[in-house]
Subunit: 391 residues, 2 copies
């Protein structure tokens, strides 16, 4: 597949396809290439951002503004199943590489377009970034606690990563449909649309009632996290009635089980503050390990609130292959987040490390396209393609 | 497709398939059915949770513990393309409906399994809920600010919704592969694996260095939100050098552009606190509308931090169909989050409102399966299938 995407939303989507076995040709311009190469760059040049998003792809440098560059892309389109891009709407048309042109040339091509705002509406041409759309979509305000609270961006990248998941889903859907219709189509997802999808069950309240519900620190006294005597936090999730007696027993407050204020869900909601205070006091009397053991014994879903370091040595993560090692020509053995969609017959694999060199595979790919070395040297001399610019 | 999923992760995935045209048969037990019907239930019985996750599906009540119920499911499997379930691992086997049995019966069946923890490892059999996995995966700690900060669940449902996106992606991938191999396979995704995927670019730092980086309130002085004189917040995202002079001009501090402390990205990082203070002071002098106009004029990506109500009347959201109306037999005209993956030739549609009646389509579906009315009445009398239990 031909991958013109940059930054995060697009590259995350095409990473899935690389892991699933696609030959992803990352087409970069001969300038600095994907700016993602520089995001969070460390003193030795390592970018965790680029590594996480662009492993297992081949890098090809082509100047799309150059007519010979455009011709190369058209030749590549003839052989491609999928093209993905996340330029502002209209950019590919300005290169002479818009959907109409490419669809006429290769009717089986699936054309994937990831946008910020969708292709319609007054903001369609506006730039969009993760945080901007977290703010616009109401996610930042709700994440801060709802109206009247300081808004938060709890996790930069949530909009981009989820946008990438949906983009991959859209592309796979179009590929599946193509098997039945014989024709490719254009598939478009946006950061904005995906943010609404991410929030759909919560938004449904506002969609009916017209007002936003504040988000409490805990979903309810029995779903949320409490601080223990060792300063660590324990998360519990007792979402229905059957968990209530178990929770009360686990926190050594069996007396609360039949307390008329708390015995039923309605009472626990109405007397929420009182119950939270009882629970918080209980958790503060003992260390987290003590409570976790008791919660497990009473079959209450619970977890310590953990840090990212804890994942490195976690048996559960390792057993399912969610973190894997790759050998990287520059950075040595490197742990990466591995594929996490588990297919029994055609499993995904970490296709390789991130391309260290911008344009590293240009010559290789042009040779596969049938160009001879004289022609490649001429394109290099003209600046149409790049081969080994500074990394 | 046969949909045995409950709560959120599974139903969100099968909603995509319903919107894309699949006939989703939601198989519920004859007791209370999917507990999601009761989540966030309002006094009149409306559940925004269920409405958001289960619209456009048909509800069929079958007791899977009853041999005749199992036989009905096996007949349905013969005609199905996809089966989805999110029980704890092993539950479908305990009904005699495990992968081995179903695959032998219908080798083309795609068997989708959504789990909490993956199918391997010491926690595979443990219960999992959204908040539990947000805590376990490090998301809650990072969302609170990283180590040493109070952890947060910034948005309940993030783990489930993203798990559902990946689940739909896995199912579509297996369907696509089936077109080439002729055979179905088992596809499994988990909340835990998806939480790692959601955090992949951030986690990559810990995967290399072994420690977690704290998350500042703003990603940088030029990427984050500032409070204005009217108490509203404005988000800006100036992620590379070209935006710096634009931002300084937009906030009427052109003098900062060449300030040696701030002129380059490295300086803005080293002198982050000083720059944030300058920016915060500037934003506080004028109302948000003033700054938004100036930011737009200077081509700086920006947005007001908005609430969920703002989406109801938003032109951009409406223009792209992200919020749509459905006619609901019980709740009247209802706004819902619509499909947000835009396919040019085979567009998705809101398939309909959420099934008001648990088991409402049982008779209809059994008739489609070829059962006559006598047989259906006998199954009803035996309690194997349910038809119109209390909603």
């Amino acid at each position: 597949m031909l991958d013109f995407t940059r930054y995060q939303q697009g590259p995350w989507a095409t990473l899935y396809l690389a892991d699933l076995g696609a030959d992803v040709l990352k087409i970069e311009d001969p300038g600095i290439g994907d700016y993602g190469r520089r995001m969070f760059r460390e003193p030795d040049g390592f970018s965790p951002f680029f590594e996480a998003l662009d492993r297992g792809k081949r890098s090809v440098c082509i100047d799309l503004r150059h007519p010979a560059g455009r011709d190369l892309v058209l030749q590549m389109v003839d052989r491609a199943d999928v093209l993905a891009e996340n330029f502002r709407p209209g950019t590919m048309d300005s290169f002479g590489l818009g959907w109409d042109v490419l669809h006429a040339r290769n009717p089986r091509l699936v054309y994937g377009q990831a946008t910020g705002w969708g292709t319609q509406g007054p903001m369609a041409e506006q730039p969009a970034f993760d945080q901007i759309v977290q703010a616009y979509s109401g996610f930042a305000q709700q994440a801060g606690g709802g109206p009247g609270h300081r808004p938060e961006i709890p996790f930069p990248g949530v909009a981009d990563q989820t946008g990438g998941m949906n983009f991959a889903l859209g592309i796979m859907t179009a590929l599946y449909v193509r098997e039945h219709t014989g024709r490719g189509q254009r598939v478009e997802v946006s950061l904005l649309g995906t943010q609404l999808a991410l929030q759909a069950p919560t938004l449904q309240y506002t969609l009916r009632h017209g007002i936003e519900r504040p988000r409490p620190f805990r979903s309810s006294p029995t779903v949320g996290h409490y601080e223990c005597s060792d300063g660590r936090w324990v998360m519990i999730a007792g979402i229905d009635q059957k968990f209530w007696p178990r929770i009360a027993k686990a926190v050594e407050r069996e007396d609360l089980v039949h307390d008329p204020r708390f015995a039923r869900g309605g009472g626990r909601t109405a007397n929420r503050d009182a119950l939270e205070a009882e629970m918080a006091t209980a958790f503060r009397t003992r260390p987290s390990a003590y409570w976790l053991a008791r919660l497990k014994e009473h079959d209450v879903p619970a977890s310590p609130v953990r840090g990212h370091e804890d994942l490195l040595t976690d048996e559960q993560v390792a057993a399912n292959g969610y973190i894997q090692s790759v050998d990287h020509p520059k950075w040595g053995t490197l742990k990466v987040v591995g594929p996490h969609i588990n297919l029994s017959e055609t499993p995904a694999h970490v296709a390789g490390p991130a391309t260290p060199g911008h344009g590293e595979h240009t010559r290789e790919v042009l040779r596969e396209l049938g160009l001879d070395d004289d022609r490649i040297r001429a394109l290099e001399a003209a600046g149409t393609v790049g081969t080994s610019p500074p990394g």
